[in-house]
Symmetry: C4
Subunit: 249 residues, 4 copies
């Protein structure tokens, strides 16, 4: 049983590795088509083409979800932990939310770049924020423009509203009135709080490290120093003419 | 005296253990009845039934409070630290606040699930947030709907307002005007700030750990490494032919 | 010179110790008189009495400032670090700000209670927040009520506005329009940001500690464990029959 | 190649060291001229003089950018990491953003003052905040005052709006309507989030340290204590009559 489970863990990891770049490319195409559909001229001759492109890219994500669910070693646990993925794939009315899966692309780029944890976190946060604001602006603009009593009536206003929301400033000069627009807003707010959390945490980790470096008497002992100490003891043992774990003097 | 105090500590812990699930079930019934009372048809034939259910569940919490106060080893200290519990039980006008005790349910579920601290914190935070937003929406809708000049006049608007408030965005498109509504709002804001705090703190703890794992020379020495070092010294002593604490060579 | 400077450090500490309670009592009287002056009936027969009380309590703070400046060992440095104290004492138009010195009272209470750092931080934060909101409400109400175009026209609205501001929610249903009101608002916002910072930091410190306790292999080595290790080495030395620092075998 | 690269690193560091004060002075002159241009009487006879001063100080920053890019050892990496500097120098329409380089002055002052990390962070944060708010107020006032439908029509309102924005309160009583004004607003919001992050992180670092100091059994072992332990082992070795790394007994 354990071998069978290990096999499945390997299978899942393999699939996720192979599917990463195709899905990232698919998501980019999806974003482009979605942007064009919303921001392009309404009397464009392309609507049929766009609809096909959106359908194909959607299908790619649906297939990915089904395959991963089928492979997953602990299917129920995987299902519970990926409820958001399901919502994004299944509900046709929540089309904009599907775009959130685009952060896959950021993750892929991140791996290509490499670097220290704190640098990675900064790049990832910046990229996610830009993507989140762009997608949220598209989605809220799409949801609001046809709605009675809407204040967000141009894409520029939607971008401005996204910035005001994600930073939790919330002037209230623009606010969504449609259900879809408000769902997008709530996701954007949650993104904003996480964004603030990540920024604060990164700064905190940096300050804690600098304070530690400054004062040696306050600095926590490092693993390297402990290793040095062990070497000291081992050399003492050596000097006493004892060979470790083999015999007694 | 110490034995008597220890006995009381045991008693209190025992009561809290035994009362946990009954109270959680009571709180769920209370929430259901409260929801039905506010969101159900006003010309419902159930009002009398609901009133009895609410009274019974309220009584359960009152009994729990009195029993815990009677058992508590340091009664005055317990009283000061549980002032909020008292306010929730005693004041009839603050009925909605009583529902905050529903987080007991989350705590109980949490224990049933188990898992690592950071995972627990995430589940607890998510569950508390959903519950807080739902209860606050009910309470503010109940407080505002009959009030002159109120802007929050539907349950949907109340939910939207709760999200805007708890994330500290605060557009101002909806804002409570009644005293009760504003008290609910203040509690929601405090909940929101704590929510942001918990999210930031969890991310910070994660980043600090990842930064530490990345660089061995920067990582704090762990208790496990110290134990390893002690074993090294003990084995040195062994090799020298000394039996610990018993005699000299 | 060092002795003279040490003497002055002792003098300053002594003065601050002796002046603590008198100043706390003075500040309480000041707050009571200030509250009465703003919230009491305008046709009260007490205005003259109140004015005298306010003047006397103000004088107490002025004397305290001058004495501390005179005693301080590094007068220039003390002056730079206590610029806020100066502003509060000197500028008659900033009367409400003087009340911020009331947190002295919280500090005094804190010392009387004692307890662990994290508990202290919580009590101090809660007390400061309540005081800050009350004083800011009084000050903004006083500044706004006579002003043309003001929206904050009752003390209840001022309290509500203070909560909305200090939590950085900022609905915008009420906002100060006078210069004094806006200065109070800015101080309240700074207080609010600090409040969020303290809450987040306290939670973060708690989570980091719990994560550490959970996993012994991840937990940082403690000073106690290092001490244990030293005892181990010393006992080894003892067993080898060596007397520390006195001679060789 | 390594020597050539080392040489360039030295060159860059040397340039930055020598250019620091001239640039700081230039930035101060720039800020003064910019302030005068916006807040001075429109019918002033000085416009030509101001324009020349602004041009010269702008040229200084452009020269600094070009020189640094030419010297930089890894030119592409330097270019990517200093994209913001480029935007500030190149785009004539983003003139206000150029003023952000004024934080150079704070950095220079900081070095002159010296002190502990946490103190430095506080001074730097306070100075940056004041500068950011002042510059943002100037820029938004300049962008909005001529715009149709603008609410920010006096410098006082602009300062008030800056405080409301940077603290993420966002009442919405004032909000920019022009593109430039909104870009300034977004930068101010990002500054505000960073500000909150720095304050929280500083408080967190302080609380973590105080909690550690309070409980010796919980406190992380310090590097100093490890050093003490090593001395103990070395003295043991000494007492055993072994000379380190030279021979055996």
């Amino acid at each position: 049983m354990t071998t069978s489970r290990d096999h499945r863990v390997d299978l899942l990891a393999g699939w996720e590795h192979r599917a990463e770049w195709p899905l990232a490319i698919m998501a980019t195409i999806f974003l482009a088509a979605y942007s064009f559909q919303i921001l392009g001229h309404p009397d464009s001759v392309w609507p049929a083409v766009l609809r096909v492109v959106l359908l194909v890219s959607w299908a790619a994500f649906a297939v990915d979800y089904v395959v991963r669910l089928a492979i997953a070693p602990q299917r129920l646990r995987w299902f519970v932990r990926h409820l958001f993925d399901l919502a994004v794939v299944v509900l046709p009315m929540l089309r904009p939310l599907r775009l959130v899966s685009l952060v896959v692309l950021v993750g892929a780029l991140q791996k290509a770049i490499g670097g220290a944890i704190r640098g990675k976190v900064i790049v990832y946060t910046a990229a996610s924020s830009v993507l989140l604001i762009y997608v949220a602006s598209l989605a809220v603009y799409d949801a609001e423009r046809g709605h009675a009593g809407a204040t967000i009536t141009s894409f520029g206003d939607a971008v401005w509203w996204s910035f005001v929301t994600v930073t939790t400033v919330g002037y209230g000069d623009f606010a969504p009135v449609s259900i879809t627009g408000r769902i997008v807003a709530v996701l954007l707010m949650i993104g904003g709080i996480s964004l603030i959390g990540v920024i604060t945490a990164t700064i905190a980790s940096w300050i804690v490290q600098r304070v530690a470096e400054e004062d040696d008497a306050e600095r926590a002992a490092t693993a390297a120093e402990i290793r040095e100490l062990r070497d000291e003891i081992r050399s003492l043992r050596d000097d006493l003419g004892i060979r470790a774990n083999t015999g007694r003097q």
